[in-house]
Amino acid sequence: MRIELIISGFGGQGILFAGNLIALSAMKEGHQVTYLPVYGPEMRGGTCNCTIIISQNEIASPLVYHPSFLIIMNYPSFLKFMPNLKKGGSSIINSDLVKPEEIKNLQILQKKYKLYFVPVNSLAETINAPMLANLCALGAFYQITKIFNLKNFKEALKETLGSERSHLFEPNLKAFNLGAKYINQNFK
């Protein structure tokens, strides 16, 4: 078992928060894990991505060029990372910002990869939490991979939020569940 995941989007979309949460959940699951954020110098705006590797064996390089999984949160990220996805790899795509109908070679891609279009922004807005699109994507990732169990995720989330932000636990979980549910209902 080994997943190489890249999450990518705008700064401010909670990319790093989500990446960190996945890594932590996977660690709690007992996996080896590395999490490598990459970001521009600006505090907001600009692109932002991170690489998470989850494995049962020692992870040497925390970098991969050909990830096996992608979470694509905006269009520039789609352009940048899609071409590098490993053959047979999976990708969750924020369909609010990357519309399937606007993708030229959609069919070719769908043959090579498993694509999960999830309108994470819209989903998050349904619970009045537009900032939580990242958690929707994370829920989708969970539902697809089941690389960690819910209990570990919840623990990880609680830990990450800490006491000052503990009131955000429920909304985050809600968004997570929405994402998971969306996969459940729309794929497979």
Partner: protein, 353 residues
């Protein structure tokens, strides 16, 4: 809190290591990609009766460290390439004054302002001349978070043991990536400082800590003392080696780059290529003898491929160790474009076909 597994950035592991070593003072100045160190120290040190002070510059920070060390208190600073360069004059003083300072350099791309991504471009600076005159830091290069944590803690012990500054040489990859570490009780030894620290001349003659020796004989003596000390430090040499003596090529790398190289080593090994792996952990003193041992035991003519995130620096130390007895090849990756394992594999294969 012992034997707990947590997910942290490399730089946080460094801060935790310093706290584990009971470092009492942190002085520093912000610079990406290592701000998590001062930020953690700002939160944690006051709780533990320590001092966190952000200085007005690196120049000031390193001299605060100099002061605190001179009175016998464990102190450190951390920075990244440009900030480290700014400290060079003071480094030379600290080494000359024989103060046990711990300095962390989380390297970024240079020269100049460069970029904030990973680099190993300060190898020469760290190892050959972090300032004017004949002096050396002991230089430790961790390659994962656990090592970053443990080596940083150890750095305080080594600094006191030799009364010499120790540098943790890391980079933005290791610094910014997160991975699990296990918190341990590292049992860091504290060396007595009551025979040299400036604590007020009570019940003893007053003391001087100085680096000015206008009498050239005295200056010579001090320089030879330092030289001997560096010799003695060779006892502390650390390295990682995976060699079975039937290799045709040894991949040599340190720090984060060694992780990528190790990945490639695993891949090539699996594919049956005759490659070995060597990773210096102490960069100064450099593991000369372990390299010579590899040469000595080798059953085949060897090639050393030295892979670095710079324009070729450590390769010189490998060449000096090998001393013409094998081919030494520099595979250099100027900052900040980090080669992916896939790419590196192709490149290495060309050399060992």
């Amino acid at each position: 809190m012992k034997a707990k597994k947590i997910l942290v950035k490399g730089v946080e592991a460094i801060a935790l290591g310093a706290l584990e070593a009971n470092c009492k003072c942190y002085f520093g100045y912000p610079i990406t990609p290592q701000n998590e160190i001062p930020e953690m120290m700002a939160r944690e040190l006051p709780k533990r009766g320590g001092v966190f002070l952000q200085a007005e510059s690196e120049l000031s920070a390193i001299n605060m460290v100099l002061g605190a060390c001179a009175v016998g208190v464990r102190a450190m600073t951390s920075s990244s390439s440009p900030g480290i360069s700014l400290m060079c004059e003071s480094f030379s003083y600290i080494a000359a004054l024989e103060l046990p300072a711990v300095v962390v350099n989380v390297m970024r791309g240079g020269p100049g302002l460069g970029g904030i991504e990973a680099s190993q471009g300060d190898y020469f600076q760290a190892v050959k001349s972090p300032g004017h005159g004949d002096f050396h830091f002991m230089v430790l290069a961790p390659y994962n978070a656990q090592e970053a944590y443990e080596l940083t803690a150890k750095a305080f012990e080594l600094a006191e043991k030799y009364r010499n500054p120790v540098m943790i040489l890391s980079d933005a990859i290791l610094g910014q990536m997160k991975e699990p570490i296990i918190l341990k009780n590292l049992k860091i030894k504290e060396y007595p400082k009551n025979d040299w620290a400036l604590t007020g001349a009570k019940n003893r003659p007053s003391r001087i800590i100085r680096s000015l020796f206008l009498d050239s004989q005295e200056l010579k003596k001090r320089n030879l003392k330092l030289k001997n000390k560096y010799k003695k430090m060779e006892k502390e040499i650390l390295f990682e080696v995976s060699v079975e003596n039937n290799e045709k090529a040894i991949l040599v790398a340190f720090g984060s780059m060694a992780r990528i190289v190790k990945e490639v080593y695993f891949i090539l090994k699996n594919k049956g290529y005759p490659v070995g792996f060597f990773r210096p952990i102490t960069l100064f003193p450099f593991p000369v003898k372990p390299i010579q041992k590899i040469l000595h035991n080798a059953k085949n003519p060897l090639k050393f491929l030295v892979i670095e995130l710079n324009c070729g620096q450590m390769v010189e130390d490998v060449k000096l160790a090998v001393n013409g007895k094998a081919e030494v090849i520099s595979l250099f990756y100027p900052p900040s474009v980090i080669p992916f394992p896939e790419e590196l594999e192709r490149k290495i294969k060309k050399w060992i076909k």
